[in-house]
């Protein structure tokens, strides 16, 4: 009872932020990045154990952000910054104003845009789970972006028409990918799989409080 756990992400160190940037630019290899991330995850796990957390997370250190990271794992996607996507937005000034209001720079946020048929090239989070299970005996929670968040953010009309006739058809494939991942995570010993759907609030609350988010 009263299991102590976390929701997912952990503050990133300067070396990790630098390595994530270098990885995006292609100036460090995957092995070098994973070695650094292993050390960051290990520290994060030890801090949780010492603090008394019962159900551990890996801190999402290996991810570009909590949902865009799927672009590295799923065929038919391309990581695009919001600045790149701005060209496809009809109401450009409205979009820029929203980002400005939200206090978020368009060049610094990446989106996993769908540009073709979606297929998992590799599992989304199984390696994250395996690593934490190797270094700790405590149960592990894995976070995944939810199907609504992914469908809404991945569908960018100007690009996604290459793979699908409409957003609903692409959404069916997003659900299939997530189901396959959930089953693999269960078989690999995940104690908890949490789906993140932060934008559900926007649908029901943005009208009332006059704000919207960027996803």
């Amino acid at each position: 009872m009263f299991t102590v756990t976390q929701v997912g992400s952990w503050p990133r160190s300067k070396p990790l932020l630098r390595a994530l940037r270098d990885q995006r630019r292609g100036t460090i290899g995957r092995d070098e990045f994973e070695r650094l991330a292993d050390a960051e995850v290990t520290r994060t796990v030890r801090l949780q154990e010492e603090a008394g957390v019962d159900l551990l997370v890996d801190g999402e250190h290996r991810r570009d952000n909590f949902y865009s990271f799927v672009a590295g794992k799923v065929a038919g996607t391309k990581l695009m910054t919001l600045a790149e996507m701005l060209d496809t937005v009809e109401d450009k000034s409205g979009f820029e104003e929203m980002l400005d209001t939200l206090d978020v720079p368009a060049s610094a946020i990446s989106n996993p845009t769908c540009v073709g048929k979606l297929e998992r090239r590799e599992p989304l989070a199984v390696e994250e789970l395996r690593f934490v299970r190797r270094i700790s005996d405590r149960p592990v929670k894995v976070t995944l972006p939810g199907p609504y968040l992914l469908t809404r953010s991945m569908w960018v009309g100007a690009f996604s028409g290459e793979g699908y006739t409409d957003k609903t058809e692409m959404g069916d494939d997003v659900v299939r990918l997530l189901r396959e991942e959930l089953i693999e995570l269960r078989d690999e010993g995940a104690a908890f799989v949490q789906f993140d759907e932060p934008v559900l609030t926007e649908i029901v609350m943005s009208e009332e409080c006059g704000r919207r988010t960027f996803m």
Partner: protein
């Protein structure tokens, strides 16, 4: 294995006024249809409304109760956390309640909403509250 759904009102800025406000009433019809064991929800800020909204409608599910704000510099007091949980206990049994921060502590767009030391301090407070709650209700 458990499955859960996490919903929040934004976690990319420490400026409370740019994040969304409202309780979960209008999401209840969707929550009720979802085949998940647990709802992992924000409750540490007044922007999230009262636990009663979800507590009454979804008392047969588990709750991942958000008891600390991941975006502030000061760790919450144990008493403050205990108050949140005691209120939730009006709707849930102890074994249905998980304790967690409102959202992740992490970084978005290269900026972190908090630092490691503060985050660890907040987790320690949650664990201290959990120990007291197990003593009271175990």
């Amino acid at each position: 294995m458990r499955t859960g759904l996490h919903v929040c009102r934004g976690n990319w800025s420490r400026r409370e006024e740019v994040l969304l406000t409202g309780d979960y009433t209008r999401l209840l019809p969707a929550f009720e249809q979802m085949n998940v064991d647990q709802f992992v929800l924000e409750y540490a800020t007044p922007r999230a409304g009262d636990i009663e909204v979800v507590g009454r409608a979804l008392a047969h599910r588990e709750i991942g109760l958000g008891v600390v704000n991941p975006r502030t510099a000061e760790p919450e007091g144990v008493d403050e956390i205990l108050e949140h949980v005691e209120r939730a206990l009006r709707f849930y049994r102890p074994e249905q309640i998980f304790l967690n921060p409102d959202c992740g502590f992490g970084c978005f767009a290269g900026r972190c909403v908090n630092d490691e030391q503060t985050a660890t301090g907040k987790l320690r407070r949650i664990a201290m509250a959990a120990a007291e709650l197990r003593r009271r209700h175990g």
